[in-house]
Symmetry: C2
Subunit: 402 residues, 2 copies
Amino acid sequence: MKKHGVAILGFGVVGGGVAELLTKNSEEIKAYLGCEVEIRKILDLRDFPNSPFSSLVTHSFDEVLADESVDTVMEMMGGSHPAYEYTVAALKAGKNVITSNKEVVAGFGDEFVALAEKMGVSYRFEAAVGGGIPVINPLLGCVRQNKIREVRGILNGTTNYILTKMFTYGDSFENALTDAQAKGYAEANPAADVLGTDACRKITILTALATDKLYDVKTVHTEGITGIRKADVLFADSRNCKIKLLGRCIAAGGREFIMVAPFLLPSDSPLSTVNGVYNAVEVVAEPLGNVMFYGQGAGAGATASAVVGDLLPIIAYGNANPIKPGFNRVGTPASDSFGDFESRKYIAFPTEYAEKVQKIFAGDEITISEECVILTGYESEKATDTKIASIGVEPLSKIRFL
Amino acid sequence: MKKHGVAILGFGVVGGGVAELLTKNSEEIKAYLGCEVEIRKILDLRDFPNSPFSSLVTHSFDEVLADESVDTVMEMMGGSHPAYEYTVAALKAGKNVITSNKEVVAGFGDEFVALAEKMGVSYRFEAAVGGGIPVINPLLGCVRQNKIREVRGILNGTTNYILTKMFTYGDSFENALTDAQAKGYAEANPAADVLGTDACRKITILTALATDKLYDVKTVHTEGITGIRKADVLFADSRNCKIKLLGRCIAAGGREFIMVAPFLLPSDSPLSTVNGVYNAVEVVAEPLGNVMFYGQGAGAGATASAVVGDLLPIIAYGNANPIKPGFNRVGTPASDSFGDFESRKYIAFPTEYAEKVQKIFAGDEITISEECVILTGYESEKATDTKIASIGVEPLSKIRFL
């Protein structure tokens, strides 16, 4: 039976998961791929003297590069550098690259895809969005005969765990975060999760898959969940809604509205039922309707499943695979269109501004109790922001309805 | 640009949807497939004088067969005959076949796949399970590097609509069915839906995809929803459960437990949140964990999306596609193992049997009120059935917990 050689870059949680999967499921993998997979090198800064793979560990990327028996490099180091440099070097050396690293895909996907094409090899990244959930391959290979209207998703398990805790137990954001850290779902420095940065990278990737346009992640309107208050949870409850941090790419008339922000989801929205550390991606398309892909968005096993799964198209089709992402770099900032994005909004101000609010938001539904709560109609960001500026103070909350 | 010729067999709801999709989304389809798709023939018993496709309509299958410009035949007639004969003839004539017809896939999939292989063409059927939801392609192409422990799903929209009505509005089965018929979700003769036959065909197909074994559908343990009573809904509610008709294939120690039956699902099961006419398929695998695919399981547009989507692997890879179902016909009846299937069960008897029940189900949780309700522990079908036989009367209800 043919053998396919792989190198693992980064022997952490995911890299370790891949090595374990390749070992434990070798029979399934042989049947799946029609060939055996052998780990030829493992690159890490550390040694792993007690690992069954210790003899494969190297500290030199050049050794990996020079090893002609390595057909595919699996990059699971995370971060932009040296992941970027290693990816370029591996592709230039005629090796396929698989990655679980959303930062590097969102930042340089266009360059990698073009280079892979030039070198006649493959660049694949199913694990970069939604962990183990098959999202990227179905999006490229099963739905693009449709007119894609929107791709939206719960793309970050840490924030979804925190929001679920806030809704289920009435926890404050701070308490829920502490709990998530204690359980290992959030890192000591949780900024990339709670500020929406991680979800932003993922929606940027999904946007490229749905529209062929790769935007600069730094230009995508991104809000996190640090500002979500108990009062917002109570309001949402009173409307039979949940608050979820969504990445959304809405395609409308040749342009895109791309954003990461908390949204109020009615209970009949399938995304509203996604709880805890689970992720889900929903595609709205014509004539398909709504489809959703749901599962574990992180974790060693789930992510390893996606990394190893990407070997199938590489081994079966190689560069002949027509299911390639159309990563075309867009110079325009994604935020350029955002002012025209229309939505219904829940906005809260301190009651002392009630009089001003009633004047400026005249025509909207206004409730004055502990706070002065406004429910706007469908209205552009620009229009709402102009009104808020006229109040002369930042609102306590501003959350859009899905 | 290259052209790919197709013939549509059966110009009903789905066939019409395919023609409309190929027309309305021709730009998306060109980008997706890298070629144009042209309808060359439409086979139907009827004429369609007012259709824009009227000139393509023929009543003769031989004409379709003889048309060398037809590369792929899309069979959307439903039923076993003449779908079987037409499929065999088309494959023998060197044409690819795509179908949305679960009856013919479940019945003869092994024969078709083998014949397609022999003829160097493709046989594909994404639309046969879950309508528009990408299920079959992801199952074959994204998860089989895992050890698949179970595939289960809400595979029939009509019964899920009826059960949703019963839970949301307290409707009886009869009233909910009448409503489903009025809305066009259930046919005048709803037997294939409400008795579980349709779901049985689909779980038989999913079993083959997950295990490479094609069982005889007639040997799969199949219960419908006609026996679900208001009392069962109230019991489920009291336990924070929903009742859903599931198709399940559980792979355990080299054998399979395959069944279609109503199950009590706790509210944290993702399948419990699938309402109305929606379908969902959940895969439980190692190390992937649980993933779920959700969407519209029927309807012209969704089903047409899956049929047209199947053109991608045909055009891109043809018979070189390694993602092929391993339909190996199994002689053993699927029901052979069913007696050993273990589950917790809710069983109700009339109160007059309370004394007998307390003796025979001693050790189980028993509540006597309007009815005598038993909650068993994990127990095999055989063991429970023996106890029920000792009571000497059929129970009012017997529903398994997921």
